[in-house]
Amino acid sequence: MNKILFLFVQRKESQHKNQIESKMKILIPFCFGVSFLLITSFFSSHDTKDDNTVMVMNFEQLRPLLQKNNDTVYLINFWATWCAPCVKEIPYFEQLGEKYRDKKIKIVMVSLDFPNQLHTKLIPFIKKEEMRNEVILLDDPRSNRWIPLVDEAWTGAIPATLIYGNGFRKFYQKEFTFEELAETILPLLSD
């Protein structure tokens, strides 16, 4: 009887062991997977939030940003690191973002740098200039299709800025000074 019981227990144990082993077989890759996801998500969130580096998108992906309908004022600036007047006005957009940090204002800097220079030019530039506004790299060479969708009057020259929100919408193919930007924005901000 004891012997039978012993055998039974042994079998139970070995079954249990098998179960654990098979569970481990699933669990180990699962754990690896989860930790991989955690690590990558940590790094990617680290990228966009802390380093303020760059989202790359085509025009269809960018387009919703040009037609939001809420109580926020949007400034969408088209620029590139190689465009001297664009580079000159970047600090003004930074100052504006800083000054109206508590207001409902969203500044997005849409870079038209060459996509193959993302890591060699654009990201180093953003770090050097300590840009805090969001930067998007628009990777869409078919500009004849999308330029008129930003604004019919845009010839494609940069710098150019779209300002909209609270019933206002205007496209500027020009270089701004800080005063001009502030004067444009101020009446649009709700308290």
């Binding site: 190689w82 500009s143 010839t155 940069i158």
Partner: protein
């Protein structure tokens, strides 16, 4: 009221800024006489025996120009023998952009073996007359045969600055072929990202 004033003044400013539109297709091309890098002067009237001219506003440092430089040369090589040569005009103020000085223009043209004239619009009267706003910007002019030229195409060279092998629409070349066939180009106007022209301060 103050708010309204602000909005109105912003509107006024933007109207001024948006003035820079290219001359309309079908209009007479403004004539020019400009200094070439070889020391001669080149005038639009010098092309009286050609079927047309590609006037391209261009410059030295703009990455979009550089991306299209080879294609501008090939445009000339393909169409000059057929009666539509290319002429480059640099509209930038060399004081605000020293990389576009006359000497730098000479250097660039020599390095890249420009087969066409490279003219300096340093007085900055020609590019506003054409309503050019960026480099590169193409104007295809058709010789009317009465001493005047008419604009038949304005815009970009093709639809992919990044990758020539992915080009689907050869706008400028197609416009030239239309001109040679006696047809109107379609499209007759295109848009492209380019470097804003540097005006004198």
């Amino acid at each position: 009221m103050k708010k309204l004033c602000f909005i109105l003044s912003v509107f006024a400013l933007s109207v001024i800024a948006l003035n820079a539109q290219p001359i309309a297709v079908g209009e007479t091309a403004p004539s020019f006489t400009l200094k070439n890098i070889d020391g001669t002067t080149v005038a639009l009237s010098d092309y009286a025996n050609e079927k047309g001219v590609f006037v391209i506003f261009s410059c030295n440092p703009c990455p979009y120009v550089q991306a299209y430089e080879e294609r501008m040369i090939r445009l000339h090589q393909e169409f000059a023998p057929q009666g539509i040569p290319v002429v480059l005009i640099n509209p930038n103020d060399p004081v605000s952009q020293p990389a576009d000085s006359f000497d730098e223009m000479k250097k660039r043209a020599a390095e890249r073996n420009y087969p066409f004239p490279y003219l300096a619009d340093d007085v900055q009267q020609i590019y506003p007359a054409y309503g050019a706003s960026r480099t590169p910007e193409v104007f295809l002019l058709k010789n009317k045969g009465d001493g005047s030229f008419v604009v038949t195409y304005t815009g970009t060279i093709d639809d992919n600055y990044q990758n020539e092998s992915a080009v689907e629409e050869h706008y400028a070349a197609n416009a030239a072929r239309s001109l040679l066939d006696g047809k109107d180009p379609d499209p007759s106007t295109t848009k492209a990202i380019g470097c804003g022209i540097k005006a004198k301060k």
